[in-house]
């Protein structure tokens, strides 16, 4: 049981590296962006995992006198805002991809570089 308490870290590592792999090894720019958002989600997962307290519940204190255990609100606040920021930055990335496609007629990284070299 003790070892299972570390499982979230491993999943975090795996997701982080899957996203990183997509970012480096895939040539397609949209795929790179999807990899970036997986990378981002890995970080979200790490923060929320850290916020968890055993036997706790979400930090909404309905009855201040009751002695309940609550999970840590701070990482949740950070990630809550980060999710919305994440979608807007992904949109920014997609906008850049759309413009690249209009200029080069391709969204493959190596082809773009080849076209750049030729001109």
């Amino acid at each position: 049981m003790e070892i299972l308490g570390l499982y979230n870290y491993w999943v975090f590592g795996a997701l982080l590296m899957i996203g990183f792999f997509a970012l480096i090894a895939r040539q397609n720019l949209v795929k790179k962006l999807l990899g970036l958002s997986i990378f981002q989600s890995a970080v979200f997962l790490l923060y929320i995992s850290l916020a968890k307290v055993e036997g706790g519940t979400a930090p909404i204190i309905l009855d201040p006198t009751a002695a309940e255990i609550f999970s840590n609100p701070l990482p949740q606040v950070l990630i809550l805002t980060a999710i919305v920021v994440g979608i807007s930055t992904t949109a920014l990335g997609l906008a850049i991809v759309v413009r690249i496609r209009e200029a080069y007629d391709t969204i493959e990284d190596d082809e773009i570089r080849r076209l750049d070299r030729r001109s």
């Binding site: 519940t57 979400a58 909404i60 309905l62």
Partner: protein, 93 residues
Amino acid sequence: MYIVASLAIVMTMCLALTRALLGPTVYDRVLAVNMFGTKTVLLLAVVAFLNGRTDFLDLALAYALINFIGVLAVLVFFQSSRERAAGKPGEQR
């Protein structure tokens, strides 16, 4: 009993995910995503009862309302890509 129900739902999610991975047509994938969404609503509701925090049913309600948009967006996407493939006049690409 909540446990039994949620286990069955998680198993079903697994099956739906397998269908999404296998495909083979794009419609199978959309179907799997739709199924997965319904199962998510159910699991959220059951786990809210399991944990005794029924004030969190809002989450399931949010998914029940919003999941539909994804499927409709896919349909609009199909429709517009079909129109584009048919080469409608006035569509410069």
